[in-house]
């Protein structure tokens, strides 16, 4: 832990990831993210965006380099990775809600089991969070009874219940029908305006433009280019980025 105030909460230095099958998914990726910052990562499929996001909470171990979360090195053997994960919430493309539990139970589970909160405390917090994401009415529904957009909002509430300092989003709207994208993005926007540190992989360029403090472009495992959004989309200096934007916009 640092004594004085350190503005950066995520520091990735020269991160390399080689999967056991030999796939070189990340090549010397370095990125520093400040508290309260919203960083959007874009790039073609297979460029290593998910892999990078997953290294930030150690769902993937890294092959070389170092990652520090709030001053704690993930490569240090003495680091309790479960403690770090409590501070880093994650939202997946496929929601990954626990299907055998209701929306409220999904949100209550980790605070009770990991933070050892009482049932009453966990339920109070769970109800608050489900209210915040607009799902008070569907609290006792099972995931199979909810729409994709509703499920993803429950997943966000579930991650928030651990009171994380950082939220990671891996294409949170890619599996949704178009009419449900907005409701999820709205929740994410309000989270950003609350000052949450967010790293978001998405193809929603509108969200990047509107909410991001910085946009990062990845390609073939490399972090190619990063810029403030208002400059990012107008930038003509990078040929690879131009080609990609030409395809998606």
């Amino acid at each position: 832990m640092t004594e004085h105030f350190d503005p950066s909460i995520i520091v990735a230095r020269d991160v390399d990831k080689i999967y056991p099958n030999g796939c070189h998914a990340l090549k010397r990726v370095s990125l520093e993210i400040n508290r309260g910052e919203v960083v959007v990562i874009i790039g073609p499929s297979g460029s290593g965006k998910s892999t990078f996001l997953r290294t930030l909470n150690q769902l993937e171990t890294i092959s070389d380099g170092d990652i520090r979360i709030d001053g704690i090195s993930l490569t240090d053997k003495r680091t309790d990775i479960n403690k770090v994960r409590e501070e880093v919430g994650m939202v997946f493309q496929s929601f990954n809600l626990f299907p055998h539990k209701t929306a409220l139970q999904n949100v209550m589970l980790a605070p009770m089991k990991v933070l050892k909160k009482s049932r009453e405390q966990a339920e109070k917090k769970g109800r608050e969070l489900l209210y915040k994401v607009g799902l008070s009415e569907r609290m006792h529904s099972y995931p199979s009874q909810l729409s994709g957009g509703q499920q993803q909002r429950v997943a966000i509430a579930r991650a928030l219940a651990m009171m994380p300092k950082i939220m990671l989003f891996d294409e949170p709207t890619s599996a949704l029908d178009p009419e449900m994208v907005g409701e999820v993005l709205d929740v994410m926007k309000s989270l950003a305006s609350d000052g949450m540190t967010m790293v978001v992989v998405t193809h929603e360029m509108g969200f990047a433009r509107e909410v991001a403090d910085r946009v990062v472009f990845m390609e073939e495992g490399e972090l190619v280019f990063e810029e403030r959004p208002e400059r990012f989309f107008e930038s003509t200096s990078n040929e690879r980025l131009q080609r990609f934007l030409g395809q998606v916009l």
């Binding site: 479960n82 994960r85 997946f92 299907p99 055998h100």
Partner: protein
């Protein structure tokens, strides 16, 4: 177009075929001059014969209090043998009785040999099942572990058990392990059944866990849960639900396989059946009864599992 079957007609045909089969059995027994003696069967399930109270020594019977109390005065002049609770008097005042003679009887219901056999089979199955589930759960988890020692141990155990006949395993447990560890027959039988069934349950547990999408484990871990917390709260409850049907099949097999332990002289339902046959000369009735009792056990189990499945279906 799918063919429409008239349910009434075809159910009637089903009933006629069943009746025909029943008549076939009856006719077959007629052709070999078999006399059915079903009336002999109930006493082997539940016996209503009075329990006899026997004199512990030679002596003279004294009936007191108008037949409410009976005692035997020993020839040796020691303390008399007193019986106060009984339902029927089997000796008269002044009778000379020898050691082991019945003096009185108590009317009560007792399990007959087949009843005891049923109880033994039930006990054998339930105890083996509990151990088999514990063995199966841990072996299944070891089977998918990243640790090569655990994984290979699990694979070796599963292959050894699945590659050899249960009957041979029972003999090994009884004659080898049972002798080395000084196990009684029942314990050896339970151990053999539990170890055998555990190997199959391990494979069911493994496939159940592997059928849960990896995203479930990732979501649980990303919330800060450790491996054990994620397994017990997220993965196993889902796997449990999916494995209920094959698990039920395995439990039913266990009940039926338990009949094999009769070879090490455990008087389970099958062995009781064999003993009763040799004393009644009513083999058909006895074996049909034994089969029916096995059906009752397995049927009750299927029914219970189906109810559980319905209850767990709430989140589908």
């Amino acid at each position: 177009m799918q063919k429409q079957y008239n349910p009434l007609l075809w159910n009637a045909i089903f009933a006629v075929i069943l009746l025909g089969l029943g008549y076939g059995i009856y006719a077959a027994s007629k052709s070999i001059d078999y006399t059915w003696r079903w009336e002999r069967i109930p006493q082997y399930l539940i016996s209503t014969d009075p329990t006899e109270i026997r004199s512990p020594f030679d002596g003279t019977v004294v009936v007191e209090q108008g037949g409410k109390r009976v005692l035997v005065d020993p020839d040796s002049g020691d303390e008399p043998f007193v019986v106060e609770k009984f339902d029927l008097l089997l000796a008269d005042d002044g009778d000379i009785v020898f050691e082991g003679d019945a003096v009185a009887g108590i009317e009560e219901w007792r399990l007959g040999p087949i009843g005891w056999g049923l109880l033994t089979t039930l006990k054998l199955s339930v105890v083996s099942l509990v151990f088999a589930m514990v063995i199966g759960l841990f072996t299944g988890l070891a089977r998918i572990s990243d640790n090569p020692a655990l994984r290979n141990l699990a694979i070796t155990y599963i292959e050894l058990i699945r590659g050899t006949p249960l009957l041979v395993q029972i003999f090994i447990f009884y004659f080898f392990i049972g002798t080395v560890l000084d196990l009684d027959r029942f314990t050896a039988g339970v151990a053999a059944l539990a170890v055998f069934t555990g190997a199959y349950i391990a494979e069911i547990v493994r496939s159940g866990i592997q059928s849960i999408p990896p995203g479930q484990m990732e979501a649980a871990r990303s919330l800060g849960m450790n491996y054990v917390q994620a397994m017990t709260n997220v993965i196993l409850p889902q796997a449990f639900k999916r494995t209920l049907p094959p698990m039920a099949g395995q439990f039913i097999n266990l009940i039926k396989d338990s009949s094999l332990v009769s070879v090490i002289a455990i008087t389970d339902l099958t062995k009781a059946g064999r003993e009763v046959v040799s004393s009644t000369f009513a083999p058909f009735e006895v074996w049909f009864t034994v089969a029916l009792l096995y059906l009752v056990l397995t049927g009750a189990l299927s029914w219970a599992v189906q109810r559980l499945e319905k209850r767990l279906a709430a989140s589908d």
